[in-house]
Each structure stands twice: as structure tokens, then as C-alpha cells.
């Protein structure tokens, strides 16, 4: 169980994590999602005390990480695939790390076997690929047989077999009753692995809910629209709570509205529609919708009004990415 209360981290004048409160429960895989720079890694680093919180607290099983008698038994963390001395072998790295807690060679060999590093264990880490580095990081995290696992982007650089292995591993560990906290920017991966998801954007929590809720909540609200008059349609649909992204010339993805409402609005304005499809809910769409709501809407409207005299019928490509709502940070896919 990880509990964060009002956790805040400033780096100089930049706020990386802004007053977040959340709980990661044992027995399930909790995914930590967010775009790059959202503050995921900073949050994870604060949990194990590598970064000092500017304000707020975070405890693991009721105590700050540093106050545990056997920190490695409490939390196993993979925070990056490069937290090793390049001149030391994988085996010696694990052996030295384990020695701090009296963890012996038998356990070191065990985690090497588990992570499939047998053939390279005696080689120096400097020559490792990113995937091998990730495996060694996971081996280090498992070394203390910890109650809580914190894995930052564990599937980065892994081959498909490795991705599947990590997925099975974290599911297995959670089923044993352990707390598993896993960050990723791969939404599809998270949909397959996590039970619960915390979405972070610009240092703030955007959502904290079971995967099913997050997918379900916005599932019916994404509508794919194709129209030769896309630009006019954008003006028509824009309003509070509606997010619009242009995916290609003539193509729009609308959130916060329904196919029925869009169809009726288009008919009333005599706008031709070539396609009007409610998109099946996916975690990815939900994630886009979430980050869009919090950050993008304002730039959406300002983008629209940037050139009010523009003739909407001007050209087919008018609704292309250049006019796209959210042109600066928008989730244009």
C-alpha cells in the first residue's frame, strides 16, 4: 500500500508534481499513466526517497520508505534501466545490492534466472542493451522479494516476448497480494495489464479509477466524423465540454458529444457528412479525452478564433492539422 498526501515537488520555479493525493492498493496492478513530463517518474522517485518532496508526504505500508528496517524487502523499484555501474557485472551488481540486506547468492542466482539474464550475468553492464538493462532493473527490484513493486516504464526497450513476460509477472505478483505500481505511456499495454489507473497530467491527477470505469466513462463520447466541410462543423460543434481534434484533413474526433447530436447539428446547417462513427471505448481514447479536457480545450477555441475572417468553405484542407484545435499540444494522432 502506497499512500501519498499533498505530494508536491518543485525543481526551481518549475512544478513537476502539484499537490497530488492518491493510494495504491495491494492485490492489484495500478497503472500510472501520463504524457512525458507529467511527473510520473518524479512521483515514483519521491516514494523511494531519491527525490525530496517540496511538500507533502508519501508512505509505504504506513512508514516513509527510509524508515523501514529492510527497505528492499518493502519496496522493489525499477526507476531507470541505467542505475548500474557500467564497469561491474550484472551478477556482482545484484550481489552487492543484496549484501546490504544480507540477501545471499542463492537469491541473486534466482532473480537472474527469473529475468533470463543467465547468459550475460557475468558480463559487464556497460555492454548491455536497453532491454537487458530493463531485465537487470527488474531483477534488482525483485531481489528483496518485496511487498511493493514500483516499475517505471518497465517494458521500454523490451521485445514482444519480454513485454508479455512483464505483463505476466506483474499480474502474478499482484495476485499474490503484492502492491504493484507501474508507469507507462503505452495505453494499450496498460489496458491489458492494469486493474486500476491513475492518470497524471502536468503534475496533477486527472483520473483515479478502475480501468473499466475510465474506458466506460468516455467510451460512448468519442465520435469520428468525416466531412468536406470539417472547418464549419468545428465552429458549429465547439462549446464547453466538447473536445475536437483533427486527425487528418476532413477527419475529426469529437469527444463530449454524441453521434446523434453531431448528425442533427450537421443536418440543420446543411453540412455534408461522409462518415459519423461512435468510436468504441478504448483506454487510449479515454486517456486522450482526459488529457484533452484538462489542457487542450482553451487552445482549441483560441485556435479557432485566431482567424475569424477565414472562409470556412475556402478549401477541403481547411480543417487540416494547421487549424487543428489544440494545435500546440493537441492529441493529433
Amino acid at each position: 500500500m502506497i499512500e501519498a498526501h499533498g505530494l508536491t515537488k518543485h525543481y526551481g520555479s518549475k512544478t513537476a508534481v502539484d499537490d497530488i493525493t492518491f493510494t495504491v492498493h495491494p492485490g492489484k496492478v495500478t497503472g500510472f499513466l501520463g504524457p512525458n513530463g507529467a511527473g510520473k517518474s518524479t512521483t515514483m522517485r519521491m516514494i523511494v526517497g531519491l527525490d525530496r518532496p517540496t511538500r507533502g508526504t508519501v508512505v509505504v505500508n504506513g512508514r516513509r520508505y527510509a524508515q523501514h528496517r529492510a527497505p528492499l524487502r518493502e519496496v522493489g523499484a525499477l526507476l531507470d534501466a541505467k542505475a548500474f555501474h557500467t564497469g561491474r557485472s550484472a551478477y556482482n551488481h545484484l550481489f552487492a545490492m543484496g549484501a546490504t540486506h544480507g540477501i545471499g547468492k542463492a537469491r541473486v542466482r534466482e532473480v537472474i534466472e527469473m529475468t533470463g539474464l543467465e547468459s550475460v550475468a557475468k558480463k559487464r553492464v556497460g555492454g548491455f542493451s536497453l532491454g537487458m538493462g530493463q531485465r537487470l532493473g527488474i531483477a534488482s527490484a525483485l531481489l528483496g522479494n518485496p511487498h511493493t513493486l514500483i516499475l517505471d516504464e518497465p517494458v521500454n526497450g523490451l521485445d514482444p516476448e519480454g513485454v508479455l513476460w512483464v505483463r505476466n509477472l506483474v499480474r502474478y505478483l499482484a495476485n499474490e497480494g503484492r502492491t504493484v505500481f507501474l508507469s507507462s505511456h503505452l495505453m494499450s499495454e496498460m489496458a491489458l495489464t492494469a486493474d486500476h489507473i491513475i492518470v497524471l497530467g502536468r503534475g496533477r491527477i486527472l483520473a483515479d479509477a478502475p480501468v473499466a470505469d475510465i474506458v466506460g466513462r468516455s467510451g460512448g463520447t468519442t465520435v469520428r466524423v468525416c466531412s468536406p466541410q470539417a472547418t464549419r462543423l468545428v465552429e458549429l460543434l465547439a462549446g464547453p465540454g466538447v473536445g475536437i481534434a483533427s486527425t487528418a484533413p476532413q477527419w475529426l474526433e469529437v469527444t463530449g458529444s454524441t453521434a446523434q447530436a453531431i448528425g442533427e447539428a450537421a443536418a440543420a446547417a446543411q453540412i455534408v457528412l461522409h462518415e459519423l462513427t461512435p468510436v468504441t471505448g478504448s483506454l487510449e481514447a479515454a486517456y486522450m479525452a482526459l488529457t484533452q479536457d484538462s489542457v487542450e480545450y482553451r487552445s482549441t477555441t483560441s485556435g479557432l478564433h485566431r482567424d475569424p475572417n477565414r472562409d470556412p468553405k475556402d478549401s477541403d484542407g481547411a480543417a487540416g492539422p494547421d487549424v487543428a484545435l489544440a494545435s500546440t499540444e493537441g492529441p493529433i494522432r
Binding site: R45, L72, G87, A96, H101, H147, N168, L173
Partner: protein, 288 residues
């Protein structure tokens, strides 16, 4: 691979149950961990080997030259005897031990290893002290071995002429032990600077620049520099290896203070203590 996880016996203990085995963090274990880290890097082994070879090599060269010279007895007694060669040997060997002292800590920062270290020892300071203990012990042992081999070499070359150091003489013993103590202390000095700067090149430039350049600049005959000069870490620490006749000669017309052997060494230790304290405070405060 995934099946091996499922069958692994160590994974079967439920996280709720408190562990009967003795897996926990203790200071002796952190020292053991640091010792494993220390000896499993090639750079460590190389630097210690170089230290040994440099010291024994210099003493051998000196002994061979001395043995071939007529009237060597008179010239060496003016310097305080053949044991004075250890000042030269330590002056060269300190280059190797300061490099080691710096790299022991900055190597972890430049590679990212420090994040693993501090995640395993989240109180942080035990890791710093353990590194210091391992470094100091290793360097003391290696330099003592180097002094021992050097003494045998000197006996072989100079024993017949009764020029070899006499272990019955208190000053000789002070110089021999002082050589190991000086190299140990100067390595800790470099280690503390490495821990403060966290950057290999920057810390090496600082330590070597101070010992080889700055301290020599203080020999410029300008009073303010000469007053401060005896208190610089290298200059002060060297006193523990300096024969009394040389200290007496230096005190003639000295502008600043003239420190005795142990006073000088105490000044070096004070430098080490202050810098290690600063390193400890910074380690507690900074993000890793």
C-alpha cells in the same frame, strides 16, 4: 521464463507474512556491500596495483642509486636518512590514491549507480560512511604492504652499508606508518571532494590542481601566502613523513607557522573532517 517465476520457491511467501529470515539493513552489511562493489571494479584493482608499483619502484630506484654512490652516508644523513625517500614515494603514489578516492564516489554518479545505492540504503549516510571505511582500509593496507616490500628492497640494496632504515628508531617508524596514514587521509580528502562535486573530471581537477598546483603557488615568497601555506592539506599532511632534521631546516627563517609531524597530520585530518561533514549534509539534502 515466465514459468520459472511461477515455480520459484522464494516467490511463494505471501507478502503479508512477516519474514522469519534475517533480511534487513545493517551498517556492517552496507560495509560488506561497498567492499563487494569496490573489489568488483577493474579500475579499483588497477589503481591499487599502480599505487603499489609506484611506491616500490621509486624506493628501488632510489636504493639502487644510493648503493652505487660513494659517500652516500653523509648525504642521506643531512636529509634525515634513507627513510626520507618515502616522502618522494608518497608524493607520487598520492596521484593514484586520490584518483581512486574520487572515482569510488563519482563513478556512481556518472553511471547512475548511485540511484541503486541510495534506493537500497535510503538513510544515505551509512552508504557514505561505508564507502569511506572500505576506501580507507584498502588504501591503508595496500600502502602498508608497499612500505613493507620497500623496506625489504632497501635492506637488500643498502643493508650492507648500514643505510637501510632502522626499525628500532622511533622517527623511522613514525615516517613509515605516517606514509600509510598520509595516503589514507589524502584518499579520504579526495573522496570527500568527489562526494561534494559528484563529477569525476571536476573532482579530479580540483584535487590534483590543489595538491600539485595551488599548494606550490603558496610557496611564492609573499607573506600572506606563506602564512597560510603550512595549513594547506597536502603541505600539512606531508609533515608526518618529514624527518625532523628537514622540519628544523625549514623552520629557519620561516615566515608562517612550523607544524610538527602530528600537528601537520591533524590539520589534514581536520580538512578531511570538514569536507566529509559538508559531503554528508549535501548527500542528505540533494536529490539523487
Amino acid at each position: 521464463m515466465s514459468t520459472s517465476i511461477l515455480t520459484s520457491p522464494a516467490e511463494t511467501s505471501s507478502p503479508g507474512q512477516r519474514d522469519a529470515d534475517d533480511v534487513r539493513l545493517t551498517f556492517p552489511r552496507v560495509v560488506r556491500s561497498e567492499w563487494i562493489k569496490f573489489r568488483t571494479l577493474r579500475s579499483t584493482i588497477w589503481t591499487l596495483a599502480i599505487t603499489l608499483v609506484l611506491m616500490v619502484g621509486i624506493v628501488t630506484l632510489y636504493s639502487a642509486i644510493l648503493a652505487s654512490q660513494a659517500g652516500a652516508a653523509e648525504s642521506t644523513s643531512a636529509d634525515g636518512g634513507s627513510v626520507a625517500v618515502f616522502m618522494i614515494a608518497a608524493g607520487i603514489a598520492q596521484l593514484a590514491v586520490t584518483v581512486l578516492g574520487v572515482l569510488v564516489i563519482t563513478g556512481e554518479y556518472t553511471t547512475g549507480m548511485i540511484r541503486s545505492t541510495l534506493a537500497a540504503v535510503p538513510q544515505r549516510l551509512p552508504a557514505l560512511w561505508a564507502k569511506g571505511v572500505v576506501l580507507a582500509t584498502s588504501i591503508f593496507v595496500v600502502s602498508t604492504v608497499a612500505v613493507g616490500i620497500s623496506l625489504i628492497v632497501m635492506q637488500l640494496f643498502l643493508g650492507a652499508d648500514r643505510l637501510a632504515p632502522n626499525l628500532g628508531d622511533a622517527e623511522t617508524v613514525r615516517i613509515l606508518v605516517g606514509t600509510s596514514l598520509y595516503l589514507t587521509a589524502i584518499a579520504l580528502f579526495a573522496f570527500a571532494i568527489g562526494a561534494i562535486l559528484r563529477h569525476s573530471a571536476g573532482a579530479l581537477a580540483t584535487v590534483l590542481g590543489l595538491l600539485l598546483v595551488i599548494e606550490n603557488l603558496f610557496l611564492i615568497p609573499w607573506k600572506p601566502l606563506q602564512v597560510l601555506s603550512p595549513f594547506l592539506p597536502g603541505t600539512a599532511g606531508f609533515k608526518i613523513m618529514t624527518p625532523q632534521v628537514q622540519i628544523d631546516a625549514m623552520s629557519q627563517g620561516a615566515v608562517g607557522a612550523v607544524l610538527g609531524p602530528w600537528q601537520g597530520f591533524a590539520v589534514l585530518l581536520a580538512w578531511v573532517a570538514v569536507l566529509l561533514t559538508a559531503a554528508a549534509v549535501l548527500l542528505r539534502r540533494r536529490n539523487a
